[in-house]
Each structure stands twice: as C-alpha cells, then as structure tokens.
C-alpha cells in the first residue's frame, strides 16, 4: 500500500498542473493514467496541432505543452502509474483507499479526479455476441502474438494498427482483413503492402464489409460479415481483432457515488471538492455554472483543488500563501537557488 497526500486520477494537462501545485505547497502525490503515455487528450488526440490559448504561450502543440508540463513537475519526482486504471475508491476511517485495475493500492486523504471525458478505452464491436468472447478470442489489443500461430485471424479496421497487425500476422496466421470502405487511413506504404499480400492470396481482403455476428460453441469458430447491400459471408475465425481507435469512457468514475450531471461531476468553485469530502474534480470532468472546457480553466481549478487537499493532508497546519518568486521554501522544493 502506497501512502500519499493525494492521488491524481488522470495525467492530462489538468492533472499534471495540479501535481505541480501540490508540489509547490509541499504535498506529495501519485498520478495514475489508463493511457500508456502522459498528456491526456493533448497527446492522444492532437499531439501535432498547435494550441493558441495557453496564457503567455502564443503557440504550442499538444505534445510541446505536455513536455513542458512534465518538465515543470520534474523537481518533485512524483510517480506515474501508466497503463493502469483507478477502479475503486473506498472510504476507510477518513482516508481513501484507491485501487487500480493492476492491483495497486493507495492510502490517501485526497483524491483529485482529473479524468477528462473519461479514460481512453478501445472502441468495441457493436455486435452483442462479441461480448461473450471478449478478452479470449475477441481482442482489441495484442499482448502476445504467438497465440495466433497457424490460426485463422479476422482483423477489422482501416488504420495503422489494423494494417500493421494484418501484415505482421500474415507471416504466422491465416489473416482476413475487413474494412467498411475501400480507402484506408493507414500509412500509404502499409496500404500498398496489404494490396500486394491480397493479390498473392496471403491476406483475404474484404472492403465495404463490417461485422454482423460471431459464432462458436465454447470457443470462437466463425465470424459473419455483411455489406450494405445486405449480402453476408461467413469466415472461419479462431480470433477476431478490432482496431477502431480509442474512445473516452467515464467507466469506473460513475461508480464512486459522486453526483453526476450528464457526464460531468458538479463541484463547488471554492476548492473544486465534490459531494464527497476529500474527493476533488478538476478539468473537463468537472462542471459548475460558467464552466469552460479549456486547458487554462483546468490549471486554475487544479491550483485551488491543491489548496483544498492541504487542509486534509496537514490538518494541524495552516496553509500559507506564498509566491514562487519570493519564497525560499518553494525554491528549496524546486531545487533552485
């Protein structure tokens, strides 16, 4: 069990800056994110797009913003727990026990939810029957490719993940690639390669088709695909892989007993605390009259939530307001002279 002054759920820009503010006022924190990288929407959705409304930064890309935020919190040496999702938050004698999908446990007086529009999860097949095989033979990511050796694998999607895996797995398995239209959004070189492999009958290519059903007694046996004319085909399949990108899903956050307004958590604007003591919500996930879903608003919300955390983390101390330019204590924390 890791003890800390605050657990931050989400390593988007808001969570990162809140960590900075916690560090400045002398608190510790641990940051958990479901993605395999730091930066939230900025890094997952628009790393190369320039942002023009960060105060005093006329222009920076999503990736540059993320790198600068990471740089800014380096002095505090906070831990990141990536590829892990905060699943459960339970109250235990006034502290919060925070549990993750990978089995990590934290004990903390404060939880700061900076979860954006939710955690990034793979988009799944719409077909109900696919749920039964989810995680066994219907997969949305690949951990160990050797399981596909000499198997029939049906891959759905038209982006780089679908194309790259179709090419890679065609060396060891019997691959079908199914996509809903003729154009692919993957890299042109991969598209070219797929077309060559299809010509040589190494890959079975079906465009303008989508999934209709998956079937099997116990284990998966076949997948049925359909086109818009209503024609369908049945393909033999031991595995069905779907690569439709990521979608933000509120997921476990909805089960923590917090008030919800549509997909957002109402907070007070004094310290961004939710209806539960010691649980704060900041950034895109929070709502209050006048809320703007902007990065700059998230920064402000994080600064105030950090002060809110202070009260519970240091109940016997009084929070002291200080400037970074003037305070020697803060300079010590930052490791500057």
């Amino acid at each position: 069990m890791i003890k800390t002054d605050a657990v931050i759920v989400g390593a988007g820009p808001t969570g990162l800056f809140c960590a900075h503010q916690l560090g400045i006022i002398g608190l510790t924190c641990e940051i958990v994110d479901n993605l395999d990288k730091i930066g939230g929407q900025c890094i997952e959705l628009y790393p190369d797009k320039p942002i023009y409304d960060i105060p005093a930064v006329p222009k920076c890309t999503g990736e540059e913003l993320t790198n600068n935020l990471i740089e800014q919190i380096k002095p505090f040496k906070f831990n990141f727990h990536l590829n892990d999702r905060v699943q459960e938050i339970i109250n235990e004698n006034g502290n919060w026990i925070v549990k993750t999908t990978n089995g990590k446990k934290f004990k903390t007086p404060n939880v700061v939810i900076a979860g954006g529009v939710g955690s990034f999860e793979p988009r799944k097949f719409p077909t109900k029957s696919a749920e039964k095989f989810d995680g066994t033979s219907v997969l949305y990511s690949i951990k160990d490719k050797t399981i596909f050796k000499d198997k029939f694998v049906a891959i759905f999607g038209g982006g780089d993940s679908a194309l790259d895996w179709a090419i890679e797995l065609s060396n060891i398995s019997k691959v079908s690639l199914i996509h809903r239209r003729d154009e692919f959004r993957g890299a042109p070189a991969s598209v070219q390669k797929i077309k060559e492999l299809s010509k040589k009958n190494i890959i079975n290519l079906f465009t303008k088709y989508s999934i209709k059903d998956v079937k099997g007694n116990g284990s998966l046996e076949e997948v049925e695909i359909k086109n818009e004319e209503g024609e369908s085909k049945i393909l033999k399949a031991d595995y069905v892989l779907g690569f439709f990108g990521l979608i933000m899903q509120l997921g476990p956050i909805a089960e923590w007993g917090l008030n919800l307004d549509k997909k957002a958590i109402p907070v007070n604007t004094e310290n961004f605390e939710t209806n539960k003591k010691g649980i704060f919500a900041i950034g895109d996930i929070c709502t209050y009259p006048g809320k703007l879903k902007l990065i700059l608003s998230g920064f402000h919300e994080g600064a105030l939530a950090a002060r809110g955390c202070f009260k519970y983390a240091r109940p016997n101390e009084k929070y002291r307001f200080e400037f970074t330019t003037a305070s020697n204590t803060i300079k010590d924390r930052l490791g500057v002279k």
Partner: protein
C-alpha cells in the same frame, strides 16, 4: 448585402429548422442558428444521443448521425479526415456523417438527421 448592416445581421442570425430523429423514432424539431453546426444545434437544444465528447474537433466520432439520400447529397462535402473518424464510429454506413462537420445554412432548412442507437 454587406453594405447594409441591418440586413446583414438579420441574414446571419436567421434560424434554420433541423429535425433530429432518435433511434426509437422520436422526432425533435430544433431552430438552429445559421452558421452553427448540426452537432451544436443538438447540444444547445438538449437533444439526446449526440454526445460530442470532443466538442466538435473531429476527434471522437460521438456526434455521428445518418442522413438519408434525399438530404445527403445537399450537405457540404466531407473534408479530409471525416471518413477516417467515421471508421471509428458506432455502426457507420454510407449515410454516415459527423454532425459537428455539417454547418447549418439556409439550404439545409428542414434537414432530417437520424441518431444512431448509441454512440459508443
């Protein structure tokens, strides 16, 4: 037109009727301001089924709608990237559009869009 400010203001403020049809057939008729997107019209009028998680930046595909042939061809053409994003939508087909990419104009008065069963 440009030389007459009063007329110009009246022109750009004009409202356009958009009909949103839920998966269960329930119709919502909304007056949407000229220049806004069909997605914004839905959000402003609390029409269920259009999530628009990314706020119209074409990176979530949760504003997906179907537009039947009679209207489909009258819509502004898809820009680069829309089809790529639609690949990631829930049950896309050849009638699919992202409602955040359809700007409302006088030509679209009476446009009917069908909301999918779900967005995720």
């Amino acid at each position: 037109m440009i030389t007459c400010p009063i007329f110009f203001c009246a022109y750009i403020k004009a409202m356009v009727k958009i009909i949103y049809i839920e998966h269960n057939g329930k119709e919502h008729v909304a007056e949407v301001q000229n220049g806004l997107t069909v997605m914004e019209g839905a959000v402003q009028n609390d029409i269920p089924g259009i999530d628009a998680d990314c706020g119209g930046s074409m990176s979530c595909a949760t504003c997906h709608v179907y537009v039947k042939e009679d209207w489909y061809d009258k819509l502004p053409k898809k820009e680069m990237g829309e089809d790529d994003m639609l690949d990631q939508a829930y049950e896309p087909n050849s009638n699919s559009r992202l409602s955040c990419q359809i700007s409302v104009s006088d030509d679209l008065d009476g446009l009917k869009v069908h909301i999918p069963e779900k967005q995720v």
